[in-house]
């Protein structure tokens, strides 16, 4: 079996030729005595390899499943963590904004309600209301025919009411003063006309009562005189017509009441409209002030949220890089 000859030229020069031969023979015997490979060796090792392959497949499948499960679990964890983080940051920003806004509002209210400021503002309001009422009264009195009387009466009756005690706002006081003055003037005009008509009627009746019999007699006695009397009579008639006209022009007491009621209703409607408008304006002003006061907090909150998002992103990027 062994075709290779021993190699005599070696570093083991101590070995004799006989020793070489003996060793070679020994090795050759060993080689010759090598038995044949068992027939079932192939089947044995192939079976073992198949078992091994099946075991590896199973192991790999389990590992893959475990890995998938782990990945799923970690993804879920990440998702939950992310959700919670977003919810918490949003809640923090919300709380920050609300708290900040409330605090700033409280500070503003405290500053508004401070004693010094209140006093000053009251004085200012009083002055404004008084001047408004006065100017309204003055203007109306100037327009009226009997401005002196109207003003005097107005001052006595209503002007003082509008001036200040409740420290109303100037525009409202002006409006109310105007409405009252108009009502008062209408009443006054109606009363004056009535008085005038009554006076004229009385005068005419008195004259008629005294002069009518004499006039009748004179007419029978002389035509020339009658002519003069006729002239007087015509004048009287004319005066009477005028009186009637004046009487008819002057409103009756019922009409007067109706006009007063209508004026009052109109004034009330106007007042209500004005009040609504005022309320709307004040609401809008409040909202504007509120928005202005909340603006720094909103900006601060937005800045914080941006910062938090930036930090979160940086941390995630680092984690991804590590993974």
């Amino acid at each position: 079996m062994n075709q290779n000859k021993p190699y005599p030229e070696t570093d083991s020069g101590n070995l004799s030729e006989q020793e070489w031969t003996e060793l070679d023979r020994e090795l050759a015997q060993m080689a010759e005595e090598t038995p044949e490979m068992p027939a079932d060796f192939h089947a044995q090792w192939t079976e073992r390899i198949r078992e091994e392959a099946a075991r590896e497949e199973e192991k790999q499948g389990e590992e893959t499943r475990e890995k998938e499960n782990r990945e799923k679990a970690s993804e879920k964890k990440k998702e939950n963590r992310g959700q919670w983080r977003y919810i918490l940051s949003a809640a923090a920003v919300f709380v920050f904004l609300i708290t900040g806004t409330l605090l700033s509002r409280n500070n503003r209210d405290r500053a508004t309600n401070s004693p010094i400021k209140t006093e000053t503002e009251t004085q200012r309001t009083e002055t404004a209301a008084g001047s408004a009422a006065k100017s309204a009264a003055n203007g109306i009195a100037a327009d009226a025919d009997d401005d002196v009387a109207v003003r005097a009466e107005y001052d006595t009756l209503g002007g003082a009411d509008f001036a200040v005690p409740e420290a109303e706002e100037s525009a409202e006081a002006e409006e109310a003063a105007e409405i009252r003055v108009y009502s008062y003037r209408a009443e006054k005009t109606a009363g004056a006309a009535e008085q005038d008509a009554g006076a004229r009627r009385d005068t005419y009746r008195a004259e008629n009562a005294a002069e009518a019999p004499a006039m009748m007699a004179a007419a029978y006695e002389s035509p020339a005189e009658n002519a003069g009397e006729e002239t007087e009579e015509a004048a009287e008639e004319e005066a009477e017509r005028e009186a009637e006209t004046a009487e008819s022009e002057a409103p009756a007491p019922e009409e007067k009441q109706e006009a007063a009621a209508a004026g009052k209703a109109e004034a009330e409607t106007g007042k209500k409209t004005t009040e609504i408008g005022e309320e709307t304006i004040s609401f809008m002003k409040d909202m504007g002030r509120f928005a202005l006061s909340a603006l720094p907090w909103v900006l601060g909150g937005a800045g914080l949220a941006f910062l938090a998002a930036l930090i979160d992103r940086t941390i995630r990027e680092r984690r991804n890089r590590k993974q």
Partner: protein
């Protein structure tokens, strides 16, 4: 060796592995037998070697010839078996021998055959003690009958290197065997006869 089969086997195809290893199985078994000197042990070592080759196939990068890599694994398996056997014997039989117990050889055969087997066992044990490069060269050329040229190609060295390794291995074997007694089985038999004579 078929490269394609190797790739398929590396991917975990057992059929490709079977086809790849079929031409090498006989030599693997013989190498195991040379080390162990026992049919059953050679079969066990051969199977173990096949499994190790299968498991380690993914790590084979073609740095040496595939056959060399395979034979080394078979030799290592056989060496492990020998070490284990030695350990077991020292644990079980040696204390008994020290106590005066001499177990008889259960297998039938002449005394000369027994002595020759003993000689071969000692020779195999000495071969197992050799350095790996010398052992590979000796087993391939002296026991497997591979020519120096083919062995050099298989081991990836020059033919002269193979020859040198073989001679050095032989010299060591000779020394070790001379320390234990005579090399020739004939001489051993004569010595035995002389010892047994009254």
């Amino acid at each position: 060796m078929d490269e394609l089969l190797l790739k398929w086997a590396q991917r975990g195809d057992p059929e490709a592995f079977e086809r790849l290893m079929a031409p090498l199985e006989a030599r693997i078994w013989r190498i195991c037998w040379h080390y162990t000197g026992d049919r059953e042990a050679a079969s066990d070592c051969g199977q173990e070697a096949m499994v190790r080759i299968w498991r380690g196939l993914g790590n084979y990068r073609g740095e040496c010839a595939f056959e060399t890599w395979v034979y080394r694994i078979a030799a290592n398996c056989s060496m492990d078996w020998l070490r284990k056997k030695k350990r077991d014997r020292s644990e079980s039989i040696e204390p008994m021998r020290e106590a005066g117990f001499d177990p008889a050889d259960p297998r039938p055969g002449t005394e000369e055959q027994a002595l020759r087997k003993d000689e071969h066992r000692r020779l195999r044990e000495s071969i197992a003690r050799l350095p790996e490069d010398q052992r590979e060269a000796l087993v391939l050329t002296q026991l497997e009958g591979v020519s120096y040229e083919a062995a050099a190609e298989q081991l990836g060295v020059s033919e002269g290197t193979v020859k040198s390794r073989v001679n050095r291995a032989k010299a060591r074997l000779k020394e070790w065997l001379a320390e234990d007694g005579e090399l020739s089985p004939g001489k051993s038999v004569q010595q035995k006869e002389r010892r047994d004579r009254p």
